[in-house]
Symmetry: none
Subunit: 219 residues, 4 copies
């Protein structure tokens, strides 16, 4: 897509400005991904962006401000990626599997995201809470739809909330556990299987299916 240019073909002031801002943002994401928020100094960020320290403050009011922006922007990308990947699915379980996998494929593409996400809880708590609300809301709608369609058990909204937390937590932790020292996630296929198995059947051995779900037996 062609960019707007001035008559002489040079970039607009606005464009140039946006580029610098993006460069800072990208640099910050990488630096936080590599060193963590604590060691993401302005010096490091501006150096990576090939800019002077002072320039930073032309675009962000403070160090915290850019930290607070990291997760919202990247989180939106993550959601978009997941939606796109899980779009074609029909059944609840299919969709769940696809979006589960999509989360991990996103991490492969953007390895620094996981650290940003994780540490944000500590260093950008507001942003983290917001991100989390976004995820939860989206998930809630999905589960409500599945419930309405009779695809999943008839849980109250009050139960749906902790359930979502559990599923989201699961993804995050698995990612963390299966990330090697180089920051590359390598999820074993068993993880996917057992995740789906838990969702479908729970853990209890068939022979011991509790009485209170006996109802299943008689259609």
């Amino acid at each position: 897509m062609a960019m707007a240019r001035t008559a002489t073909g040079k970039k607009t002031r606005v464009q140039r400005s946006e580029e610098v801002r993006d460069a800072l943002f990208q640099a910050a994401a990488e630096v936080v991904g590599e060193y963590g928020y604590v060691d993401a100094s302005i010096t490091r960020i501006t150096q990576r962006a090939n800019l002077a320290q002072g320039t930073f403050y032309n675009y962000f009011a403070s160090r915290q401000e850019i930290f607070d922006e990291l997760l919202p922007v990247l989180g939106a990308k993550m959601l978009a990626h997941i939606r796109q990947q899980a779009g074609g699915a029909r059944t609840f379980l299919e969709k769940e599997e696809l979006s589960f996998r999509a989360f991990f494929s996103f991490l492969k593409r953007m390895p620094y995201f996981l650290r940003i996400l994780n540490e944000a809880e500590i260093f950008a708590p507001k942003a983290h809470r917001q991100h989390f609300r976004n995820i939860t809301a989206s998930y809630l709608r999905f589960l409500q739809k599945a419930r309405a369609a009779g695809e999943i058990a008839d849980l109250s909204d009050d139960s749906l909330e902790p359930l979502i937390y559990m599923l989201v937590a699961t993804r995050g932790y698995l990612a963390l556990r299966y990330t090697n020292e180089n920051g590359v996630v390598n999820l074993p296929e068993e993880a996917v299987t057992v995740y789906l198995q838990l969702l479908s059947n729970g853990l209890i051995a068939p022979s011991l299916v509790p009485i209170n779900i006996e109802g299943r037996k008689e259609p």
Copy 2:
């Protein structure tokens, strides 16, 4: 239990020394619990313990050293608490419920533990890994026993591992989500219920129980 005293009834040097060390440890736990590792300065810790800054270094070689000790000590307490609470349980599900509840009752008793646990991943990674290994190993033995007893589905050890991660993650996240701004955990009963429901039956609506577990229907 009566403490050893000197003939004059005063405390031993050793005792006094232990008390001071404990005071520092306790102060550090509280300060980290309240402000997080980043803002747990030596000044804050020693002030809370009513000691001079220099005294700190009579007991710990560095700030990091006490940080590294926090989780192991408190984590052991947590495990002890859970074991004690879940001791009486018979079935897998019972035990799981009791230890699940025990985790949260421990947090009620020791509110600063959660933050210490969470941030340790970043600020005391070695300690965190070790703590995690402890938890995982303990959990693994438990699940293997249940599997041997036919109480849970016949999952491979390779599947047990991610499963454990999921369950552990679940507890941690729920705690985080249901902790209010004062650091008090308030887990809704629905969370317990849905957790156990997930373990027992999974999520899928009875009418849609996948074919591969049809076996359940015919005793």
Copy 3:
């Protein structure tokens, strides 16, 4: 010599930067000269330079770094001064006298140099060794030339080395001994005389000139 200026007549950033660095260097030299390396704190140095503490670290990576720079820079000045003063001399003894005197006149001009030089042995050992090597090498060439010209006794190179150490030591110690509490060197003329006398004739009374140099008597 006119300094480069910007169009507006103000100093360049680079110039300003050099000035600040020089100010720090000069301040450090003075402070070390007055208080010694041990008590040459960053606080003292920056205060003397009328700069904030932090500014120091924009120019030097550490306290040790500036310490290591002191002697090389000032030592080079010393050598230059001596060379310039002793330039015109013809004979060995003349040159020796001039450079001997030049060493002390340099100390008059730069009173803090002596302490910097002396303590450097302890606090900037690398720099001190290097300085010493420079001096020694320069001296060695000088003596070799004099030897080749038959101006001094025909000593082996292995003898020249300790000899140089002796001469260098002599200057340093004399300076130390004849420095008063205000740091001002006041070398008595006798010191010069006896130094030259030692070089020319040694100490032994004429009547007792050892046999092995009897050769002198008969041309």
Copy 4:
């Protein structure tokens, strides 16, 4: 030599006390010899003496106090050693050679002395000055005697002083230069030779002996 004991054969309180003091002194000497004054902390000294930190202050009022005592005590030992070694000598030159060599043999026996001596200039200046005065005074008497005996040139007392400084400096520097990284002095024989040669004849080549000592030539 039998030590005074109490009736029961135990050591006197005074004796015990002296032993502890000596242990501290010896420890301090070693520590300063190894690490230098700067890093000779009370902790290090008392640890080496197998005593508690506090014990130090029962014997010395301050860290500086023991520093100030080091050189006087060891310096006296050095002088005693030199006197003993040079005792038998007859001529000036013989005595000079023996005491020159004795200085270095003392360093072989007490390797930490050199560092103590050198750094004392900075860290125990008073003691250093005193030590220096002792040396100088002793040397002066020696030279005056030699002068009276007509063994050395007829120098004024005002000339003897700087001369002594030169000779003392020479020894110190040579020791420094020929000490290896393990603190062992290894003086090459050339150093002795050239030292004595300088004393006997000076440096000037025989053919160029200055006119003002021509007197030598004609008996």
